[in-house]
Amino acid sequence: MNFIFLIFGILFGIVLTKSEVISWFRIHDMFLFNEAHMYLIIGAAVVVGAVSVQLLKRTGVHSVNGQPLNFKGKDYHKGFIPGGIIFGIGWAITGACPGPIFAQIGAGEWPAVVTLAGAVLGAWLYHAGKTRLPH
């Protein structure tokens, strides 16, 4: 079963890499409004994703293991905006969001291993301090 997710991951990594979504330069140019590349990719992905979800909902398709599909979105809490802003700063610094960190490593940008180490530590720090944060 997990084999299919490995294949999906490989395909996802190829798309991220070939479209240079994993590039610090592309992220930098996105935030500087120098080019529309990233905005168009995210926009097109959301449109295709949203239309697909609507089609799946209307046709009542089940997953291959026979379950009704789970369309449950994440429930809002007070961390969504401050956490999002903190991540946005990290995204601009490293030029990588979570998926692309792994793609950067595979693409031979080995300093991204350091980004990954920081991210794993950051995730742990959140859990270590989460009782003191507003949610």
Binding site: A44, V48, G79, A92, A103, V120, A123
Partner: protein, 158 residues
């Protein structure tokens, strides 16, 4: 002009990325989201007692481990095989010690921020917006506020 070796346009890559939302739903009833992979790695490397604080079920989320492993392989295939010339994705400065300190700091913000916001670009911006979830829109706006503030202030301050 060779489709496999040149940079892919937005109208190729964007729709392909969007198709992973229905593909993962149909294949395993999974919602695409990648920042929880940090917790996954953390749960694996920490001793059991210390990993308890993460409250993360490695077995239930095993698919994510395979998915990010796949992304890593995909990065290799995309840059070394499906390419005539290797593309640099990080500025040269990040290959120095001071650059790596910066990457580590940024990485901490990525890990902390995505877990506090309960999602990243894939979980909130792609999946959450595809589900038309207003909570994910708020987070996505947060991503851009943070990124814009940092990028523009870095230009004027440093």
């Amino acid at each position: 002009m060779n489709f496999f070796t040149e940079t892919w346009n937005w109208y190729i890559a964007g729709p392909l990325i969007g198709l992973f939302v229905p593909a993962l739903l149909i294949a395993g009833n999974k919602l695409l989201g990648l920042s929880s992979s940090f917790e996954h790695i953390c749960s694996i490397i920490l001793p059991k007692a210390k990993a308890a604080v993460l409250n993360y079920d490695v077995r239930k989320n095993g698919w994510k481990y395979y998915f990010v492993l796949g992304i890593l392989i995909g990065g290799f295939v995309g840059n070394f095989i499906m390419n005539d010339n290797r593309v640099a994705f990080l500025p040269e400065i990040y290959h120095s010690f001071s650059g790596m300190v910066k990457l580590f700091t940024g990485g901490i913000l990525v890990g902390f921020g995505t877990r506090y916001a309960n999602g990243c670009t894939s979980g909130h911006a792609i999946t959450g917006l595809s589900l038309l979830n207003p909570a994910s829109l708020k987070s996505t706006i947060g991503f851009f506020i943070g990124g814009l503030i940092y990028t523009w202030s870095a230009i004027y301050l440093f």
